[in-house]
């Protein structure tokens, strides 16, 4: 197989790789906020349960979680989440990344001084106004570097989908490598991820710069 065919075949999986990436971001970013707020709940039970769930999600391999969501329901209850494998893959990724984002958000929220809340309270802002107008924008700025780290990791983590044979770029590359007994597909995959992350870096850097109008 020529290098060109190889790249072409692997490119076909690139759409799926992007699907995992963007859909995970789309769901995990807001879900992480919900998890963070539950984690910071004043109700001890809620925060303890959330904390436990977060530690399980961060303490076990994503690979295992992918297998659990994709095949677990079938072995346990005799049905699959969906015939389209993208669905369980996104569920597993979104939940896993939400756990990481939640801890980042929590750190960001807790780093905002009490004085900001008190100023809002005295000025008469509602709880929602306080959070969305004053706290969240400052949190977003502070957590940008950590979020960028996670997003870069996510680009590479999309390759985990090979564990459930979801036909994204890396899975295809691995199959080609096996059938052709060639190492070339892995090099191609490496280049793909590297370029992908260069773009991610550029976009996140641009965003960080936009938020640099104050400190």
């Amino acid at each position: 197989m020529s290098l060109f065919t190889m790249i072409l075949k692997m490119s076909e999986g690139l759409g799926r790789t992007c699907a995992i990436f963007f859909l995970t971001i789309l769901f995990a970013l807001p879900l992480g906020m919900v998890v963070a707020l539950l984690r910071m709940s004043k109700r001890k039970v809620v925060s303890a349960v959330t904390r436990f769930i977060i530690s399980v999600l961060r303490g076990t391999p994503l690979m295992l979680q992918l297998l659990a969501v994709t095949y677990g329901p079938y072995y346990l209850f005799g049905f699959s989440v969906s015939r389209n494998k993208l669905v369980p893959v996104i569920i597993a990724f979104a939940i896993n990344y939400a756990a990481y984002f939640a801890e980042i958000y929590r750190g960001g929220i807790e780093s905002i001084s009490k004085g900001q809340y008190e100023a809002c309270e005295v000025l008469g802002y509602t709880k929602a106004q306080t959070f969305f107008k004053v706290i969240l924008p400052q949190v977003v700025k502070r957590i940008m570097p950590s979020v960028t780290n996670e997003v870069v990791t996510l680009v590479k983590d999309t390759s985990m989908a090979f564990t459930v044979s979801y036909q994204e770029m890396f899975t295809i590359g691995k199959q080609i490598a096996n059938s052709q007994t060639s190492f070339m597909p892995f090099i191609v995959a490496g280049v793909f991820y590297f370029v992908f992350n260069a773009i991610v870096d550029f976009v996140m850097g641009w965003f960080e710069k936009k938020l640099n109008y104050y400190h």
Partner: protein, 253 residues
């Protein structure tokens, strides 16, 4: 005399720490009251109870004719949240640490609450905000961000932000304590101007000569009590209580 605020016999504890042991303060329209006292005597806690950042354990707080809190059958009862929001427009608070919103420009810091809390017309609010900034000597800083300003300028923005909501009474909790000595003057001058305009104010301060010059009444707090209260010339020039004398002596050194 029109009464703006009446606090009667409020008590406040943090755990075992009995911080306010029955404080009563009455503020009339146009009055400027300074509160002095050593650190830990409960001055901030008193302001925080008055501005509803803390809840008193007992006693009453009344703005104009509205009881915000009072003791009924041995229980401290506060107004409902909705009613409290209305009362909040009666007062403003200037913090020691300014607490400006760093992500908003100076102008937006001043304009945002009148627009999003009081739902007032944006064009009118902007005109008033610029006028306020001019009064604070900051008309050329409208588009700057707080991080670009000196401490004294930030505190003046904070005063403008509080005034933009047109409060009937303005509280200051050590407004110059976080400032470099050479910057306190500009903030004190603004407060003095407000006093001349008959703005009702309660000021916690360690600036004794300022307190003596600007206030109609001085309150000395110690250990959770009001130990002495009266005309500034009396309290500073001829204190009656031993503890007041001692405190002022320490300050003169």
């Amino acid at each position: 005399m029109e009464n703006v605020l009446e606090i009667k016999d409020i008590q406040k504890s943090f755990g075992d720490n009995h911080v306010l042991k029955g404080i009563s303060v009455s503020v009339n329209k146009g009055e400027v009251i300074s509160i002095i006292g050593s650190s830990g005597s409960g001055k901030s806690t008193l302001l925080r109870c008055a501005t509803l950042l803390e809840k008193a354990d007992s006693g009453s707080i009344k703005y104009h004719d509205t009881y915000v809190a009072k003791t009924e059958n041995d229980k401290e009862v506060y107004l409902s949240k909705k009613e409290l929001n209305k009362v909040k427009s009666y007062f403003g608070l200037v913090f020691q640490q300014f607490n400006l919103f760093p992500h908003y420009s100076v102008l937006k810091n001043v304009m945002d609450a009148p627009i999003s809390v009081q739902k007032r017309d944006k064009a009118v609010v902007e005109e008033e905000a610029r006028e306020l900034l001019k009064k604070m000597g900051l008309e050329d800083k409208a588009d700057a961000y707080p991080c670009e300003l000196s401490g004294g300028q930030q505190q003046r923005v904070a005063i403008a932000r509080a005034l933009a909501l047109k409060p009937d009474i303005l509280f200051f909790d050590e407004p110059t304590s976080a400032l470099d000595p050479e910057l306190t003057g500009e903030v004190l001058k603004i407060i003095r101007n407000l006093a001349e305009e008959k703005m009702t104010m309660v000021i916690v301060t360690h600036e004794m000569s300022f307190a003596r010059a600007v206030s109609n009444r001085v309150i000395f707090m110690d250990g959770g009590y009001i130990v002495e209260e009266g005309d500034p010339e009396e309290v500073f020039g001829n204190p009656k209580q031993e503890r007041t004398k001692q405190f002022l002596r320490n300050y003169q050194q």
